[in-house]
Assembly symmetry: C2
Homo-oligomer: 263 residues x 2
C-alpha cells in the first residue's frame, strides 16, 4: 500500500540551481527525485514547502510524496543519502544535500499546504575583510553596521502588513500581498557576524532578502530606521532597500503547529 | 628599482587544482600570477613556500617575487584582491583566494629557502552524521574516536625521526627522509570536531595526511597507539595507516624565526 512520506532535508545551495526541478541543470528537487525514483523503481515527484532560489541554503526544508517501498520507512534516509553521495564511502566527494529524516504521515498531509509558517535566517559578515571560507554562506558588509538602528527598523516589520514594497517582480502574482511576521530578531554585533531571523505565516518572492537588504541600508545610515513605516505604506518595491544576496539566506524551520511557531 | 615582495595568502582549496601553476587548470599560483602580471604590466612568477595539493587549504601561505611597481607596496594586496574577485563589488562572486598582506623584504629573502618550519592543521569531524556545510573543509569520521589513544600515538611522532613510512610515492625524492616534528597536538573530543596541529622543520610528500590517517586508525582501535614506534622504525609506507583526505588539511603558519616556531 502507498505510504505518504514527509522528508526533512538540508542543503548547501551554492552548487544548485535552486530547489525546483528544471531540465538540464542540477537542482535539489531534481537530485532527490532521481534517487527516490531509483529506490521506488518508478518515477517519483516530491512537493517541497519552499522553492528556494539558486544559492539559498536550507537547514529544514520539507517535502512530501506518496509511494510503495520495498524498504522500511526508517531506512529511506540512509539509503537515499548513500545514493546522493557522501555517507560511508570516503572515496566519494561528500554530498551537499542530505535527507535528515523520512517519516510516514497521514495521507492528507502536504508539506506546503499543511504548513502554518516558516523561519528564515539571514547571515551577515560585518567585517573589513571577507571570510573566504564563508564566502558562499553569508553577505559580507565591510562598513560598520549600526545594529541598534537595524533593530529599530526591524520593529516596524513585525506584525500583519501589506508587504508589496518587499516583493520582487518575477514571483507568483498572488491575490494578496498581506502577510504576518510573527517575529523579526537581530543577533550579533558590529564587526562580527550578525544574524537576522524572521518568522512568518508566508513570504512573498524575495521578501526576506529585500527586508535584509533594507535593514542593512538602515544599519549603514543610508535610510533612517523610522522610514520602514513609510516604505511599508508605499506598497512600492522601489521605496525599499536593495535585495541582499541569496548566499546569506537559510530556510531554518518549517512549522506545522501554530503553538510551536509562536512559542 | 625592483623590490622583493613577500605575500601572505589564504585560500579555500576546494575549487583549485592545488597551488602549483599548471596549463589549462585553475591553480592558486596561476591565479595570483595572472593578477600580479596585470598590476606589474609584465609576466610575474612567484615562489610559494608550500605546493599544496588540490583540495588543501591555506591560512598563511607565503610567496615571494621581485618586480617594479607603479603603486605603493601597501596597496598591492587591495588592488590584487579586487582583481581576484570579491572585494567591494557585491555583484561579483566572492573570491576563494585572498592576499592578506604584501610587504617589502630584503633582496635575498625567499619564501621557501628562508623559512625554518611550518604548522599544518588537520580537521576531523567526528560525528555520526556529516556537516554538509563543512563537507570540503574536514574529514568526516563516523565512528567514535578514542582521542586518548590518538594523543598517545602522537607522542611517538614528535622529535627527529626518519619519516620514510609517512611519505607517499610521487613526491620529490630527496636525499634524506629525516625530519623534526617540534610539536604534534590533538585538540577536541569524540563526537565533535577534533583538530591535529603539527609543527616541523619540513614535511615529506603527504606526510601530514598519512600521520592524520594513522592517528585516526589508532583512534578507531585498528592499530595500537604504541605501534607508531614500529611504523617509524620500519621506514616502509605500507606499515603506516591510510592517507587522510586533502579537504581536512590546512597550511596554518609559516615560520621565518626559530624562536617563534618553538615558542
Amino acid at each position: 500500500m502507498e505510504k505518504n512520506i514527509l522528508l526533512t532535508v538540508e542543503y548547501d545551495g551554492t552548487d544548485f540551481f535552486g530547489w525546483q526541478r528544471q531540465p538540464d541543470v542540477r537542482t535539489v528537487q531534481g537530485e532527490i527525485e532521481k534517487v527516490l525514483s531509483v529506490i521506488c523503481a518508478r518515477k517519483i515527484e516530491i512537493n517541497g514547502v519552499s522553492r528556494t532560489d539558486a544559492g539559498v541554503h536550507a537547514l529544514d526544508q520539507k517535502a512530501t510524496f506518496s509511494a510503495d517501498f520495498a524498504i522500511p520507512v526508517e531506512k529511506i534516509a540512509e539509503v537515499a543519502n548513500n545514493l546522493l553521495g557522501g555517507g560511508k564511502k570516503p572515496a566519494r566527494q561528500p554530498s551537499d544535500v542530505r535527507i535528515i529524516s523520512a517519516e510516514e504521515v497521514p495521507a492528507d498531509f502536504h508539506a506546503r499546504f499543511s504548513s502554518v509558517g516558516k523561519t528564515y535566517r539571514y547571515l551577515i559578515n560585518n567585517s573589513p575583510e571577507p571570510d573566504i571560507f564563508m564566502r558562499n554562506r553569508c553577505y559580507h558588509v565591510q562598513q560598520n553596521l549600526d545594529v541598534d538602528a537595524m533593530i529599530e527598523a526591524a520593529a516596524f516589520v513585525t506584525g500583519e502588513h501589506d508587504f508589496a514594497s518587499f516583493q520582487a517582480a518575477g514571483g507568483n502574482e498572488r491575490e494578496t500581498t498581506v502577510r504576518t511576521v510573527y517575529d523579526l530578531s537581530i543577533y550579533g554585533s558590529a564587526g562580527d557576524y550578525i544574524t537576522m531571523e524572521i518568522t512568518g505565516d508566508g513570504f512573498l518572492y524575495n521578501m526576506v532578502r529585500i527586508i535584509a537588504g533594507t535593514l542593512v541600508d538602515a544599519g549603514l545610515g543610508k535610510i533612517p530606521a523610522a522610514s520602514l513605516k513609510d516604505i511599508l505604506e508605499a506598497k512600492d518595491r522601489t521605496k525599499a532597500g536593495h535585495t541582499a544576496p541569496a548566499r546569506g539566506l537559510y530556510l531554518a524551520k518549517v512549522y506545522y503547529d501554530r503553538e510551536e511557531m509562536r512559542g
